[in-house]
């Protein structure tokens, strides 16, 4: 839970350094994956903090 969050990935590209539709779709999927992972961790941490704070009051 307290592990360093995953780095956001750079976008995929072809040899010319450009993105075709395939790379766009793949990149967005990867970014949503990492964002979802970070969001889930944040939600869990918030829930635990709320619980700990409620007990401390």
């Amino acid at each position: 839970m307290l592990a360093t969050p995953a780095r956001l990935p750079t976008v995929q590209r072809n040899d010319a350094g450009e993105m075709a539709g395939a790379q766009c779709l793949g990149s967005l999927t990867n970014i949503y994956d990492v964002a979802g992972q970070i969001r889930a961790t944040l939600i869990d941490l918030q829930a635990q903090a709320r619980l700990a704070n409620a007990k401390a009051d």
Binding site: G17, E18, M19
Partner: protein, 131 residues
């Protein structure tokens, strides 16, 4: 012979001894009560801490289960993506090299990384963090 004064002294001595004994007895009882109260408070705190830890552990376990489910969904999406991108429309260019550089800068910024070497970085060579 034993006079009244001796009796009075003996009575006073007995009273003093009883007083001192009573003081130490009371002191020891008070100390024991204080220790018992401290132990009860410690036990209550420990029980509360264990309960909280149990709740946090249960929440972590539930979060882990959700994370596995999320990863499963991501795998499914990835597999379907590989099929979808075979359609000709996905060969169309949508972002040129300049746009990709911007996205690289956006990723570096989001990751709190140094932008050195990424296109668009206007700092002079002398400012390179590698030096």
């Amino acid at each position: 012979m034993i006079g009244k004064s001796h009796l009075a002294m003996a009575a006073a001595l007995a009273a003093c001894t009883a007083g001192i004994g009573g003081f130490f007895f009371g002191n020891s009882v008070g100390h024991a009560q204080e220790q018992a109260a401290q132990k009860r408070a410690d036990d209550a705190r420990e029980a509360e801490r264990k309960k909280l830890q149990g709740q946090i552990d249960a929440m972590s376990e539930a979060a882990q289960t959700k994370e596995y489910a999320r990863q499963g969904n991501v795998r499914e999406i990835y597999n379907e993506t590989q099929k979808v991108i075979e359609k000709p429309v996905y060969r169309n260019l949508c972002v040129d090299a300049d746009g990709v550089s911007l996205l690289d800068r956006a990723a570096a910024t989001a990751n709190s990384e140094d932008l050195w070497g990424i296109a668009g970085d206007t700092r002079p060579i002398a400012d390179s963090p590698a030096q």
